[in-house]
C-alpha cells in the first residue's frame, strides 16, 4: 500500500514532468537518552523510563541527554505532550494539552545545539500540596528544527522537524500508595513468527505501570527430562489494570506433551513466580479465541442438554395424556404440527401410489388400499385421529394436496 502510494506519487510527478526536487537543505538528526533514575525506595523510578511518583508539595526530576547527530546546528525545544491509549499502547495525542504540563519544569527548554554535540537536561515535576492522589500519562517531547529559514529562496516548500517522544508516568502520592503489584496469569504454547514459544500472561494489579522481565523453565511430566531453560521473555509496558502477553522463545526444546512450567517475573525489586502443569500444544490461534471457545463449548452443550430434556419431557407428558406445551405454542401461532403434517403427506403419498396401482391393475385393489390406509390410521389410536382432523381443518394447504392426490388417482 505504502509502496503503491509512493510509486503513484512519483508517477504523477513524472507524468506531469515535474522536476521533483530533492531537498538540498540540511538534514536533522536527534537522539534522546534517559539516564537511570535512583531516587526511589520502591524501585519504580530506578530505570531508564520516565516514571515519577511524587508526594504533593514536593518535586522530583530525571536527567536526559539530547544529542544533535547531524552536521548542522539545531534549535531544540522540550515540552510535555498529551497521550492517548490505542490498543493498550501509549501514543502521542497531537494538538492536545497534557494535564501535567502545568507542573513540569526543565533546566533548559529552548536551546541551540551545535553539530554533533549533546546537552544534559533535567526534566522534573513540582506538585502543589493541594493535589489529590492520582496518576497521569504524558509524553516528553524533544523537537529539533532548523535555526535558519531555508525556504526563502524556494517557490514552494514544506518545512520539516524531527521529534522524539518518550512516555511519562506521573503518580501523585507516596510510594506506598503506588505499590507495584502483578500476577502471572497463565502459560500456553504458541507458534510465533520467530518459532515455538511459551506465551506468558501477566496482569498488572498494582497502581504503577510495569514492564516485566522474566524467564520460563520446564521439566517434562510425560517424558521425564532435566530442567530446560531458562528461556527469557519481556513484556511491553502494562498499564495499571491491564494484562499483556509475552513470548519466551523455546524453539524445538519443548515438545508437545505435559510439562511442569516455572515462570518468574520481575519488575525492579518485585519478583513473582508461579508453577504450572500444562499440556503444551503449539497453537496459532489467538489466546482470546481460545478463551472464548472454552466458555462457548460448555454453554452450547448446556443448551443442547436443556433442549433434549424439554423435548423428552414433553413427549413423556404426551404419552401420559397431557397436552404438550410445545404443541400448544405452535398451535397458538397457527403453525402446522410437523409430525401430523408428515402423517398427512404419508397418507396422501400412499393413496396416490395405491391409486396408481388400482388404475394400472384391478379395480379390487382400490378397496385394499383404502382398507390399509384405514388400518394404519386406526393403529395410531383415537387421539391421533382427532389431532389429524384438527390440523386438516386448520391448515388449508393440506386439503388441496389430498384432493390433488385423489384427483390424480381418479384420472388414472
Amino acid at each position: 500500500m505504502k509502496k503503491l502510494s509512493y510509486i503513484s506519487a512519483c508517477l504523477i510527478a513524472i507524468s506531469l514532468n515535474l522536476s521533483v526536487p530533492h531537498a538540498n537543505a540540511a538534514n536533522l538528526g536527534l537522539t534522546l537518552q534517559i539516564l537511570q533514575g535512583e531516587s526511589s525506595k520502591s524501585g519504580v523510578e530506578n530505570n531508564t523510563r520516565l516514571w515519577f511518583v511524587i508526594e504533593p508539595g514536593t518535586s522530583k526530576s530525571r536527567k536526559i541527554i539530547v544529542r544533535n547527530t547531524s552536521g548542522s546546528p539545531e534549535s531544540v525545544s522540550i515540552s510535555i505532550g498529551a497521550v492517548k491509549r490505542v490498543n493498550g499502547e501509549s501514543q502521542l495525542a497531537v494538538g492536545e494539552v497534557s494535564e501535567t504540563e502545568k507542573w513540569a519544569n526543565f533546566t533548559d527548554q529552548d536551546f541551540l545545539l551545535a553539530p554533533r554535540s549533546e546537552k544534559v537536561v533535567s526534566v522534573g515535576f513540582t506538585i502543589p500540596k493541594s493535589e489529590n492522589v492520582n496518576s497521569y500519562s504524558a509524553m516528553l517531547l524533544v523537537k529539533a528544527t532548523s535555526p535558519q529559514n531555508l525556504a526563502n529562496n524556494l517557490d514552494y516548500s514544506v518545512p520539516g522537524a524531527a521529534q522524539i517522544a518518550a512516555p511519562i508516568f506521573l503518580g501523585i502520592g507516596t510510594e506506598d500508595e503506588f505499590v507495584t503489584s502483578f500476577e502471572i496469569k497463565g502459560v500456553e504454547g504458541q507458534n510465533t513468527v520467530q518459532g515455538k514459544s511459551i506465551r506468558v500472561e501477566i496482569e498488572n494489579s498494582g497502581k504503577t505501570p510495569i514492564s516485566i522481565q522474566g524467564d520460563v523453565q520446564a521439566i517434562g511430566i510425560t517424558f521425564k527430562t532435566s530442567t530446560l531453560g531458562p528461556f527469557a521473555y519481556q513484556t511491553e509496558t502494562i498499564a495499571p489494570g491491564e494484562s499483556k502477553f509475552a513470548d519466551a522463545l523455546v524453539g524445538e526444546s519443548i515438545a508437545e506433551s505435559k510439562w511442569r512450567i516455572y515462570v518468574t517475573a520481575a519488575q525492579g525489586q518485585v519478583t513473582e513466580s508461579r508453577e504450572f502443569e500444562v499440556d503444551i500444544r503449539y497453537s496459532e490461534t489467538s489466546n482470546l479465541s481460545i478463551q472464548i471457545l472454552k466458555f462457548a463449548v460448555p454453554i452450547l452443550f448446556l443448551l443442547l442438554l436443556y433442549w433434549s430434556i424439554t423435548v423428552l419431557k414433553s413427549s413423556r407428558r404426551k404419552q401420559q395424556g397431557m397436552e404438550p406445551t410445545v404443541e400448544k405454542s405452535t398451535a397458538r401461532r397457527g403453525l402446522p404440527d410437523l409430525s401430523d403434517y408428515e402423517i398427512e403427506q404419508l397418507l396422501a403419498e400412499y393413496k396416490s401410489k395405491s391409486s396408481k396401482r388400482i388404475a394400472s391393475k384391478k379395480p379390487v385393489a382400490k378397496t385394499t388400499a383404502k382398507k390399509s390406509v384405514a388400518k394404519k390410521v386406526a393403529k395410531k389410536g383415537p387421539q391421533k385421529k382427532a389431532v389429524t382432523k384438527k390440523v386438516v381443518k386448520k391448515s388449508p394447504p393440506k386439503k388441496p394436496v389430498k384432493k390433488a392426490a385423489v384427483k390424480r388417482a381418479k384420472k388414472r
Binding site: 506531469l16 526536487p21 537518552q33 524556494l154 514544506v158 511491553e236 508461579r274 463449548v297
Partner: protein, 220 residues
C-alpha cells in the same frame, strides 16, 4: 415428533458428556496456585567494563522539502501540480556497540502536520496566492520503506486533507535489537488551485506549506 424425540434422546447423553469434559477446561484457566522458587544465597565481586546504553535516534529529516511544478512552467491561473520528495529518513538504534540492558525500547514513526494546513507567503497584506489544503485538495504523502519484517508497516500511510497524520511503521520492544534500523522515503504532491489572481503578477511568490513533524515515539 418421533424424530425429535430420537434426536433428543441421542443428544442428551452427548450434551452431558460435553459439559463434563468442557467445564474443567474453563476452570483450568483459573487454576494452579503460585509456588515461590527457592533462593540461592551467595556473593561475588568483580570489575567489569560496560557497554554504553542504547538509544533510538532519528536522522535524515529535511529541514525544508522543496516542491516544484513541471520544469520551465509557472502558474498561469490554471490548476498547477507540485511534487517533491525526501529520502534517507532513518530511525535507528544509535551506537555501534551498545546494550539495552534491561530497558529495551520499541519505536513508532509518525508524520504529523498542524491542524488546518495551508500554503502561505506569510504576508497578511498579500494573501492572493495563499491556498488551504483540504480533503478535496490535500497534501499527499506517500511513504515507502524496505525494512525488515520486524518493522510493522501501517497501511494508512497516505496523509492529506485537514488533519494530516500517518504512522508509516513501528517496531515492538521485543523485536528491537542493538542494530535495529529502518530507512524510508517520502514523496509529497499538492495542487495550486485554479482561478487565483496574484496581486503582484510577474513576481515570485515563495509559498511555504505546513510544518511536517516526523516523530519517533519510544515504546517502553
Amino acid at each position: 415428533m418421533e424424530m425429535k424425540k430420537l434426536i433428543a434422546s441421542i443428544s442428551a447423553p452427548i450434551a452431558i458428556a460435553g459439559v463434563l469434559i468442557s467445564l474443567p477446561a474453563v476452570s483450568a484457566s483459573f487454576a494452579a496456585e503460585p509456588t515461590a522458587p527457592v533462593g540461592v544465597e551467595g556473593t561475588t565481586g568483580s570489575s567489569v567494563g560496560t557497554k554504553p546504553q542504547c538509544a533510538w535516534g532519528l536522522s535524515g529529516v529535511s529541514t525544508t522539502i522543496a516542491l516544484a511544478g513541471s520544469e520551465g512552467t509557472k502558474y498561469d491561473g490554471t490548476l498547477y501540480e507540485l511534487g517533491g520528495s525526501d529520502s534517507g529518513i532513518t530511525a535507528a538504534v544509535s551506537g555501534a556497540d551498545c546494550s539495552w540492558y534491561e530497558y529495551k525500547k520499541g519505536a513508532r514513526i509518525t508524520v504529523d502536520s498542524v491542524a488546518d494546513p495551508k500554503f502561505s507567503i506569510n504576508n497578511p497584506s498579500d494573501t492572493s496566492m495563499d491556498f488551504d489544503l483540504t480533503t478535496v485538495a490535500p497534501l499527499t504523502v506517500g511513504i515507502v520503506h524496505m525494512c525488515g519484517p520486524d518493522f510493522v508497516a501501517d497501511e494508512s500511510a497516505i496523509i492529506g486533507g485537514a488533519t494530516t497524520s500517518a504512522a508509516p511503521f513501528s517496531i515492538s520492544k521485543t523485536a528491537t535489537s542493538t542494530s535495529s534500523s529502518c530507512t524510508y522515503e517520502m514523496a509529497l504532491t499538492a495542487n495550486v488551485p485554479a482561478n487565483k489572481s496574484p496581486k503582484d503578477a510577474g513576481t515570485t511568490y515563495a509559498l511555504v506549506g505546513p510544518l511536517l513533524t516526523t516523530t519517533l515515539t519510544l515504546q517502553d
